[in-house]
């Protein structure tokens, strides 16, 4: 296994961090828009953009740096209280956040962002601050690493390096800021050869000495091929904290080599200053160890050896280009200390490749099947339930279930990220339609299997667009009907009876049923004059090829209708419902399974077929008594359960396995409840057991089968179909009395 490039890893992690920061930014902006006025919220936004800029700079992502920088400048104005953002400004900030996330993703994927998508927003941002572009550019340039000095003028001859006379008098503040003259002299030495002389004239008597005062100065003669700016750079941190004079000496004759030959000894002189422990620096020039008798205080003195150089050698070349104190290998203590420190420094999270989790989920699925098979064979072998084997198996089952729950938890993630994407869809579509729309989100923390979230994004996007486009009225119409000119779309998520319910509702005019009906008749989707309930008319929207928009608008008229939305939700094992109140608005409700992998089911038998009914939909099981059944219509019956009547149906008949039986007295009935509260009673032959089953999709091979959600493999290896009770009931005939021999819904 090759070790991955650490920078590539950091880069990948940077883009993940960007997503988190963008999320924090979006959150902060919506909080400000909702009236949050505290400084910290603005700060969070600022820091998010700031951190993106910082990281982007490190990877040379100039586009991103440029945009983030200007965005950050505006946010800084807000942060400093110099700019009070109104609603329009916040909308601009949100748009800018969208653009920012686009640029981030483009940078990640190596795509050049279209300037047309960026510039308008950028100009709007600049208009807010009135900042001049020139100034900004200049600051951007400041991020670039400093260029190398070209003082040599391209001349490569061994010309004598110029010498500088440097006078350096630290002040008290220099020490207070944590700077150290010793290290500055060391840094100077890196530039070339130095001859430091210490000036101790101002040192007072010990009795008068201020221990924290500054009374020593240095005069350093530096021979270097670097320019004056490099010398001054050494003193950058102490600028203003010392008296510094840098004077370039008149050029000396071009003798070159003899100058250089003096170097080793000089270097030695400084190394004394740097270090009171000789062995740490002795490798520099072992021949000169004798010179190290020079004590620290006389650090200006060891010039004498310079006059007797051992032999000309260019050691300053290496000394100047590579800092001598950098070992190329990691020291073991450093490596050992790192993980422990990191454990406290970062939150206890790991990022795992999704594929590995998928694999784990599949394996756990297999484990569940395997465990079911095992318990079945144990039962068949006639081993008593109180035997150690059976009991051990019981515990094993418990563990399997715990593992499964834990694995599912790994994949679950809050719907928040998806909701934020939807916020953007609202912003974009409302802008293009010139409607004012507010998005309210509820239940962002609701956790759903991430595969469900991913596959839900497309249908949800379409529903949101529809809500903005068709659901909400034109602004004038809203005002005329006494509503706020700002439309409101609510996006909510909640867990309900083992499923996730996601609702998209608007406060628009509601479905114009007359119009829907007219269009449906016009398109021959329904018979003219056919009796239809309100709910049935609403459901016409889901029929293929239905579109009520008079003019095909930019947003919805893309040939994607609600039928496609319904199809993709069904593919997820979900259902979509529509409710509408004229003048008040429309609500689309999506009900989804929590996970696509396992299901708690009741194994039943109907007409000798083994079937699985999702446990979540079963309210209770009971036995039919003759006196509770009431005839209703020629073929159908209802069942009286306590105080209410529930439609009765025979599973065997509905699936086309057999004809209705003559007498259902004593039959087993499952009472099924739908999300909307309606109930039905389904007759089955026997109930085998209640167990967890692994869902194996049928969609790929068979497409959507009415009434069937998926299949599973039972403990004995037999394949059983998993029912979709709601879909089943929607298509049910309800025949429980017909004496006729015809088969309904065969296949």
């Amino acid at each position: 296994m090759t070790t991955p490039d650490p920078m590539a890893e950091i880069r990948a992690s940077f883009f993940i961090e960007c997503e988190e920061l963008l999320e924090a930014l979006q959150d902060g902006l919506s909080m400000i828009d909702d009236g949050a006025t505290d400084d910290e919220t603005v700060n969070v936004c600022f820091r998010a953009v700031h951190s993106i800029k910082g990281g982007a700079g490190a990877f040379g992502l100039d586009e991103l740096v440029r945009f983030a920088h200007r965005y950050e400048t505006v946010l800084d104005e807000v942060r400093g209280g110099r700019l009070a953002p109104d609603h329009d400004a916040l909308l601009l900030f949100m748009r800018a956040a969208d653009v920012l996330s686009d640029i981030v993703r483009n940078c990640r994927d190596g795509i050049v962002t279209d300037p047309d998508a960026v510039e308008p927003t950028l100009r709007e941002l600049e208009a807010l601050t009135g900042g001049s572009e020139e100034e900004e550019e200049e600051e951007v340039c400041d991020f670039q690493p400093m260029t190398l000095s070209l003082d040599l003028g391209g001349c490569e001859l061994p010309e004598a390096d110029p010498a500088y006379e440097i006078e350096f008098w630290p002040e008290r503040e220099l020490f207070q800021s944590g700077n150290e003259p010793l290290f500055l002299l060391g840094a100077l030495k890196e530039l070339g050869s130095t001859e430091p002389r210490c000036d101790t004239d101002k040192v007072p008597d010990l009795s008068e000495l201020d221990p924290e005062g500054a009374c020593i100065g240095w005069k350093i003669r530096l021979t270097t091929n670097q320019g004056q700016s490099e010398i001054e750079e050494v003193f950058e941190f102490v600028e203003g904290l010392c008296t510094l004079k840098v004077h370039k000496e008149d050029p000396v004759p071009a003798t070159g080599l003899p100058e250089i030959s003096g170097l080793p000894s000089l270097e030695q002189g400084v190394s004394d200053v740097e270090n009171s422990e000789p062995e740490t620096q002795s490798s520099a020039s072992p021949a000169e160890n004798s010179a190290e008798v020079a004590p620290r205080m006389t650090l200006g003195i060891p010039e004498a050896p310079a006059t007797t150089p051992p032999e000309p050698q260019p050691p300053q070349k290496t000394g100047a280009t590579t800092p001598p104190t950098i070992p190329s290998i990691k020291t073991p203590p450093a490596a050992a200390a790192k993980p422990a420190i990191q454990a406290t420094a970062t939150k206890a999270t790991v990022r795992v490749d999704l594929e590995r989790i998928e694999r784990l989920v599949n394996l756990v699925g297999e484990l569940v099947i395997n465990q079911a098979m095992l318990s079945q064979s144990v039962t068949q072998a006639g081993i008593p339930a109180n035997s150690p084997v059976a009991q051990g198996l019981e515990e094993f089952m418990q563990l399997t279930r715990d593992i499964q729950d834990s694995v599912m938890m790994i994949r679950a993630q809050p719907v928040k990220s998806m909701f934020q994407r939807m916020a953007r869809i609202v912003r974009e579509s409302s802008a293009s339609l010139d409607k004012r729309v507010r998005l309210v989100t509820v239940g962002e923390a609701t956790e759903v299997d991430r595969t469900v979230i991913e596959r839900l994004a497309d249908p949800l996007t379409h529903m949101i667009r529809n809500a903005v486009d068709h659901g909400l009225e034109e602004t004038e119409t809203r005002i005329a009907s006494g509503k706020s000119d700002e439309g409101c779309i609510t996006l909510s998520a909640a867990h309900r009876s083992g499923r996730v319910i996601i609702e998209v509702s608007d406060d628009g005019a509601g479905i114009n049923r007359e119009k829907v009906r007219a269009i449906a008749e016009d398109k021959e989707l329904v018979q003219p004059g056919q009796q239809l309930t309100d709910a049935e008319i609403d459901s016409l929207l889901f029929l293929p090829g239905f579109s009520t928009a008079k003019t095909v608008s930019n947003l919805s008229g893309r040939g994607v209708g609600m039928d496609v939305v319904r199809k993709s939700i069904q593919d997820l094992g979900g259902r979509v419902n529509i409710t509408s109140t004229p003048g008040k608005g429309t609500c689309f409700s999506i009900s989804l399974p929590l996970t696509l992998a396992v299901l708690d089911g009741m194994v039943v038998e109907a007409a000798n077929e083994t079937l699985v009914v999702p446990l979540g939909s079963i309210v209770e099981t009971l036995k039919v008594r003759h006196e509770d059944m009431r005839a209703m219509g020629p073929n159908t019956q209802v069942l009286q359960i306590r105080d209410s009547f529930v439609p009765l149906m025979d599973l065997g008949v509905e699936l086309g396995f057999r004809n209705p039986r003559d007498d259902y007295n004593g039959s087993v009935v499952l009472l099924i409840s739908l999300e909307d509260g309606t109930r039905s009673a389904i007759i089955v032959d026997t109930i085998q057991e209640q167990r967890q089953v692994v869902i194996k999709g049928l969609q790929d091979s068979y497409g959507h089968i009415p009434g069937i959600a998926a299949a599973t493999i039972l403990g004995d290896g037999q394949v059983a179909l998993i029912l979709d009770p709601v879909d089943l009931m929607a298509n049910a005939t309800g025949k429980t009395r017909s004496p006729s021999s015809q088969l309904e819904l065969a296949g």
Binding site: F14, E40, F46, H50, G55, A58, S177, F183, K330, A345
Partner: protein, 126 residues
């Protein structure tokens, strides 16, 4: 020849990069996510130098430096400020808070190491 460094930055990316640059230079590195965390990590630690970001949640760089300088054992510990801004007033503010020097982001690892040596010496102590 190794320095021990405490690096404080709220960006994971920058922390990772600092850690990489410092490890490659053979330094031992401690990391912290913000000023408050930085002070926690610093407790019981005697780093040769501290690097800190300015814009951080909970406790920003200025507050962090002031708190560090307030501790007797760290009143002379070199502190480098990591900043994307190079505005002079930011530098003077950092210095007023007690910073030793500053590094402009994005940092060049070589320059970072050089700056650390400039304020903390060659690091022969450990």
């Amino acid at each position: 020849m190794s320095l021990s460094i405490l690096a404080v930055d709220d960006s994971r990316t920058i922390r990772d990069m600092l850690n990489l640059a410092l490890c490659q230079a053979g330094f031992s590195t401690s990391l912290a996510e913000d000023g408050v965390h930085g002070l926690e990590v610093l407790d019981g630690l005697r780093p040769d130098a501290i690097i800190t970001d300015i814009n951080m949640p909970r406790l920003d760089g200025f507050g962090f430096i002031e708190a560090v300088r307030g501790q007797d054992e760290h009143r002379a510990t070199p502190i480098l400020v990591l900043t994307t801004e190079s505005a002079p007033e930011l530098k003077s503010r950092a210095r007023a808070a007690g910073a030793t020097g500053w590094i402009v982001k994005p940092f060049d690892p070589v320059k970072l190491v050089r700056a650390l040596h400039m304020v903390a010496g060659p690091g022969a102590s450990t």
